[in-house]
């Protein structure tokens, strides 16, 4: 790995991450494994958003859950601010969770339907700051709700009384309660209507500007990924096949899978989109077969397998 300048010291450093799931074995025979994620390495810098794209089953969510230790990796290291998370005791990991948070696709499933949203947002304080006075906790919750654009008077209400976009704001309010430095956002806008997506994306950006939060942004919305993320990693069959600055990746994709993926993205402009459809029908659809170690083909632009460099 290249030495990083001190000021760009990575916040999160993932090396050779692997997640295998055993498949059922018959009659005591040797079971095989499903290789969900294989040899994935990347860094996330302070205040940076790294996009993770790829089709369903490519290992996006598995990586998100592995780096937060919600579903620890089979092998490889996840270092957060220099600390190897796998080596932490349960108690140390619990304290670490104040710094690492997650936001999920389905805000309704993430919320507890029988807990008022005020109690839900206050829960991290009860768990991590048991000494906090009730009045102070209430003030904090009101501040958080206001910060994500919700009326603090709504604290007594329950999740079913909110729309999808509001529910996602509630989840974000809780995620930022303990001032984390890193949030894994796994398809946070996929379940939201178009007119609401912009509200949530703007909120994520504002929070990054104010609090310096780094994000791992997992999404299948490739246009939003280019908009939001400084760098983007493309996953294919559990491996990173390309990683680059967002504009470099979208304007000069090197790996055949990246090219195929990007050429399939619809453009909301009738003239351009009809031209894209005509051009796309001429592209070969064969899957690339080779993936190897990442090679740097241009500054900061990494591609698997030198044949595509």
């Amino acid at each position: 790995m290249r030495p990083e300048p001190a000021d760009r010291y990575p916040l999160l450093s993932v090396r050779n991450l692997r997640k295998h799931y055993p498949l059922r074995s018959w009659w005591g025979g040797k079971g095989s494994v499903f290789r969900a994620v294989e040899d994935v390495s990347f860094d996330i810098r302070p205040g940076e958003t790294l996009g993770l794209v790829g089709e369903s089953g490519s290992g996006k969510s598995t990586i998100g859950r592995a780096v937060t230790m919600l579903n620890p990796p089979s092998a490889g290291t996840v270092a957060f601010e220099g600390t190897d998370l796998a080596k932490l005791s349960a108690g140390e990991m619990r304290r670490m969770r104040a710094r690492i948070q997650m936001v999920f696709q389905d805000p309704y499933a993430a919320l507890n339907p029988r807990m008022s949203i005020g109690d839900y947002v206050a829960e991290p304080f009860r768990l991590h700051r048991p000494g906090m006075a009730r009045a102070e906790r209430r003030d904090e919750v009101e501040g958080l709700l206001a910060r994500v654009g919700l009326d603090p008077r709504f604290a007594q209400r329950y999740p079913h009384q909110f729309s999808g976009g509001q529910r996602q704001r509630i989840c974000i309010a809780r995620a930022i309660a303990l001032k984390p430095s890193f949030i894994v956002a796994d398809e946070p806008i996929a379940a939201l209507d178009v007119s609401i997506q912009a509200q949530v994306v703007n909120l994520l950006q504002d929070l990054q500007d104010e609090l310096g939060i780094s994000y791992l942004f997992i999404s299948h919305d490739l246009r939003m990924v280019r908009y939001l993320c400084q760098r983007v990693a493309v996953l294919w069959h559990g491996r990173v096949v390309e990683l680059a600055e967002a504009d470099a990746l979208y304007e000069d994709p090197r790996h055949p899978y990246t090219r195929r993926l990007l050429s399939a993205v619809p453009v909301p402009n009738p003239v351009e989109e009809r031209a894209r459809l005509r051009a796309a029908s001429l592209l070969p659809t064969a899957d690339p077969d080779a993936t190897g170690g990442l090679v740097e083909v241009a500054p900061g632009h990494w591609v698997a397998d030198t044949r595509y460099a």
Partner: protein, 352 residues
Amino acid sequence: MVREAPAQEDSAQAKPILLDVRDLAVAFDSEGGAVHAVNGVSYTLAEGETLGIVGESGSGKSVHVLAMLGLIPRPPGRITGGQVLFEGRDLLALPERALRTVRGGQIGFVFQDPMSSLNPGMTVAAQIIEPLRIHLGLDGRAARARARDLLDLVRIPQAGARLDQYPHEFSGGQRQRVMIAIGLSCRPKLLIADEATTALDVTVQAEIIALVQELKREIGMAIVWITHDLGVVAGIADTVQVMYAGRILERGPVDDIFRDPRSAYTLGLLRSLPDLSRGRAGRRRLHQIEGAPPDMRYPPPGDPFAARNVYATARCLAEAPPLVQAPGAAPGHLVAAWYDLPARLAAEEAAR
């Protein structure tokens, strides 16, 4: 008196009207009162035309097609008014038996989730053969041969061998292809696709759309493509219809809707998309539409978008605007708005 011939009648002479929806209204009874899901939707679809319907959840875009096919549960659903003329026959007035010969026969449909639309306990062959026997009266052998051809048509490799497999043996994209094969099995005059590619990967979506475009050229069917993805609509639609809170707010030729939107809601949707024409470096903060759609148990008396619309006037809040030809816009470009969006935008530009 000079009789004005609307543009739509001109095009109607060129291509006969296939579907004529007139003032359709649908409500669902719930504990908190009736939810007015569709509130007077009227439009026509010509033979061979592709209509893209965009709108968010609760806009009535899905419910109104389910209602026209007799597929909403009644109760709690109720069709509270309107007609749906398909080749001149009112589908809403047809007895269930007669409707069944239209549905799946002349009108094919594909819904979002292929796993819940396919029967997991029946082979794929059995599910494709069923409509062929019912609607076309084919015998077992002919139907099976046709089912094989259909799987070929939707590009499922080794179609013959896969006929006797069950849905779980197919990937998500392949299951959606099977649904399209069933939707197209009786060479429908109209294909209704409701978020048919939303759950699929973007590469699979691209293949399905290319396939539907190709089949459209072969069969010449009309398509109603319901989606929230403006990119997909931009590529395949002839006409775009924007729905909100159970109403049509804007409708017109696809290029005009994108170039010259007349409804503040359409404009808001287009502006909320990331503009990547100058790359990430040249990006601007996303335009966001504040607020949320109205509670349709208590539909607002006026323009349903008025509460979120910065251009709304007092009249917008009080009185629902009719869907009429937008002044100065392309023929057939209709809008339901009391405010004049181009004038308001020009004034904003001048003030800047």
